[in-house]
């Protein structure tokens, strides 16, 4: 199977999806500029300005228009280049996209996808956040955050095919991550977690970029005789805990790694579920590894102390075993 980057996998998926006339892309700087992270570079030239819609800087508008177009049979892919800007579209996402199906008694539905990115690299406090927990909290939204090129392609296709609004979360530091991806079209189902590494001593539950850091930590620890099992959630809503719980029953020890602030963040729900459903197998408190709870500092030195490193994960795993 060809080995390609996350960026390439997303491009493949988008090219395939653009074969469907109902699909179009709307977002800032996706066309003339050439795409902030290169995902849609060349698309304007290939598909034209009607289907690659460079939008004004109006995030509420981008999402609102996508919802409206979805109501009348289109399959819009809206892009908000950084999740930090998505706060401006929260009303459209939470009060509109997430509600329309249910509030009108199932008469209509909103098959739109919002592609957006988490990420950081000395971008300071307002450009380095994750709002995963805010999206995942909202019934009516589906929330997908894949980690591998394979899942990126398969889940993006599944998201666009899905009749409900999907928040599709990428990561700026993951576009160059490589992996095997079949050339042909395929879908990875929304709402299914994946076992990405087998082990018997401890269960790590994680998703998105932290899958890769957890894998690296596991490699380190393997040399110390610690065998880590890793579950990639892939989807946050609905949340499939079945594999994580199965693993936890085996290991009795859990570490949850999520790239957001700890308090009231995604790791709280994941840990709470492990405790609730894995109660009889609990051998130790479940550890949580997260950002330090501060607005991200610009200074590289401090930033690296705020974010999650392979070392911090490895330490948390070691601690969980003692």
């Amino acid at each position: 199977m060809p080995v390609i980057t996350v960026r390439e996998a997303l491009r493949q998926a988008l090219h395939e999806l653009m074969q469907d006339e109902r699909v179009f892309i709307i977002g800032e700087d996706i066309g003339h500029y050439g795409s902030t992270y290169g995902v849609t570079a060349g698309f304007l030239e290939q598909y034209g300005p009607e289907r690659i819609r460079d939008a004004p800087i109006a995030e509420a508008g981008i999402v609102g228009l996508a919802i409206g177009a979805a109501l009348v049979g289109m399959r819009p892919i809206a892009e908000i280049m950084s999740v930090n800007f998505s706060l401006l579209a929260f009303d459209q996402l939470i009060n509109h996209a997430a509600k329309i199906y249910s509030m009108f008694g199932g008469q209509m539905h909103v098959p739109m996808v919002l592609r957006t990115t988490n990420g950081w690299t000395q971008l300071s406090a307002t450009h380095s956040q994750s709002f995963d927990v805010m999206f995942a909290h909202v019934p009516g939204l589906k929330v997908v955050a894949p980690a591998t090129p394979y899942d990126m392609k398969g889940l993006l296709r599944a998201s666009v095919a899905d009749p409900d609004p999907v928040i599709f979360i990428e990561h700026t530091l993951m576009y160059t991550v490589k992996g095997e991806v079949p050339d042909e079209p395929y879908e990875v189902p929304i709402g299914r977690s994946a076992l990405v590494r087998e082990g018997r001593h401890v269960t790590v539950v994680t998703y998105s970029r932290m899958v890769h850091l957890s894998l690296q930590a596991a490699e380190l620890l393997s040399r110390e005789g610690i065998e880590v099992e890793i579950v990639d959630l892939r989807t946050l809503r609905p949340l499939d805990m079945s594999l994580a719980l199965a693993s936890f029953k085996k290991t009795g020890r859990g570490v949850v790694v999520t790239e957001d602030w700890q308090s009231f963040g995604t790791s709280a729900e994941i840990a709470a579920r492990l405790y609730e459903y894995g109660f009889d197998y609990l051998d130790a408190p479940i550890a949580r590894v997260n950002f330090k709870e501060v607005p991200m500092p610009y200074s590289k030195n401090l930033e690296l102390k705020t974010v999650i490193t392979v070392d911090r994960i490895a330490t948390a795993i070691r601690d969980a075993l003692t």
């Binding site: 179009f24 009607e50 289907r51 939008a55 004004p56 109006a58 509420a60 508008g61 999402v63 609102g64 228009l65 996508a66 919802i67 409206g68 177009a69 979805a70 109501l71 009348v72 049979g73 289109m74 819009p76 009303d91 459209q92 009060n95 509109h96 329309i100 199906y101 249910s102 509030m103 009108f104 008694g105 199932g106 008469q107 209509m108 539905h109 098959p111 019934p139 009516g140 589906k142 899905d162 009749p163 409900d164 189902p189 929304i190 709402g191 609905p238 949340l239 499939d240 805990m241 079945s242 719980l245 579920r273 459903y277």
Partner: protein, 351 residues
């Protein structure tokens, strides 16, 4: 230049005969709709007092000419979005009055199966995409359907209703910019009833001629007398034609007035009874009724008969709503939340 696109206030229709192109049947139909809205709303108030209806209730009494005139300019295939004050637009678009009353009663026979209530009337089969309760935020959805239609080469026009208070929030301006930038077929209808809840127009908006806000986008705009159903209809026809022919969106500012409080809870401290009484003497239904009689379109007996039929229709709607069942618990399961619910293990809380 902006001022070129703006028109003076149209005069109240005091013409000696109906305008060209309005035949008696149409005139009677407009009258029927206005009266049906009025009686429906009065019944709602009654049912609210009896606690048959809950939540917020925003009545359209006094504004009937605006909704009826504007919606009459649309045809099948066109789209409507509106706000929480949505009863009038729904009835004008021909939504089933039984289903509307059932919705208010929270019954499964309601337009939204009792899930939405007063603020969220909708009928997808009529492309009446619903009433929305976040002031001004639904305008963006309306621009979206217009975009979708355009991309699918469909001839539909989208009409969206909102209040004067909705023209200060950012979404209003984002919507106008998108619509004009991409020349989308949207008719924005601002129902200027001079108040946003209890805040007077001049207290909430730096300019009080709302149609002039379109100047920031070089958008065609017009202020019209929304109290006169025929004037409103003419303006809407012009706007719809402009939009449908690919010339871009239009902002219509309809001058109107609500005779009741903002919602059933409102004690109306912000205006006097006298103010309201003065406006009531210009009741759009009375004005139109006098015109119909003067023009010989109908006799007093004709109108009485019609009004009587409407009363019966509204009463029947109450019976229907009363007799209907409540929605089932599937609506508070995931199957009531998603068009394609996904089963997971362990299940989502609430299953």
């Amino acid at each position: 230049m902006p001022q070129d696109t703006a028109q003076p206030v149209a005069a109240v229709g005091d013409a000696p005969r109906p305008p060209d192109g309005t035949n008696p049947a149409l005139l009677m139909e407009l009258y029927r709709q206005m009266v049906l809205i009025r009686r429906f709303e009065e019944k709602c108030q009654e049912m609210y007092t009896k606690a048959k209806i809950g939540g917020f209730l925003h009545l359209y009494i006094g504004e009937e000419a605006t909704g009826v005139g504007a919606v009459s300019a649309l045809r099948e295939g066109d789209h409507i979005f509106t706000h929480y004050r949505d009863h009038g637009h729904a009835i004008a678009r021909g939504l089933d009055v039984n289903a509307l009353m059932a919705e208010l009663f929270g019954k499964v026979t309601g337009t939204g199966k009792g899930l939405g209530g007063s603020m969220h009337f909708a009928d997808a089969s009529k492309q009446f995409w619903g009433g929305y309760a976040l002031v001004g935020c639904h305008l963006l959805l309306a621009v979206g359907t217009a975009l979708g239609d355009t991309m699918q080469r469909k001839p539909g026009v989208t009409m969206v209703f909102f209040g004067d208070g909705a023209t200060n929030g950012g979404e209003f301006y984002e919507a106008l910019n998108f619509a004009q930038l991409w020349r989308l077929p949207v008719v924005f209808v601002c129902e200027n009833n001079l108040y946003a809840m209890g805040t007077p127009l001049e207290v909430h908006s730096s300019i009080t001629e709302i149609y002039r806000k379109a100047a920031a986008f070089d958008m065609r705009a017009e202020r019209v007398d929304g109290n006169d159903v025929l004037v409103m209809r003419e303006a809407a026809l012009r706007a719809v034609e402009h939009a449908r022919s690919g010339q871009g969106p239009v902002l219509l500012e309809a001058m109107t007035y609500r005779f009741r409080g903002h919602s059933a809870q409102d004690v109306q401290k912000y205006r006097s009874k006298d103010d309201v009484e003065r406006r009531r003497s210009n009741d759009p239904i009375e004005v139109f009724r006098r015109q119909l009689l003067a023009w010989g379109v109908a006799s007093t007996t004709d109108l009485r008969t019609l009004e009587h039929t409407i009363d019966e229709q509204v009463e029947a709607a109450v019976q229907f709503a009363e007799a209907s069942d409540e929605p089932g618990v599937e609506w508070i399961r995931q199957s009531g939340v998603y068009a394609a619910a996904i089963a997971v293990d362990p299940p989502i809380h609430g299953e």
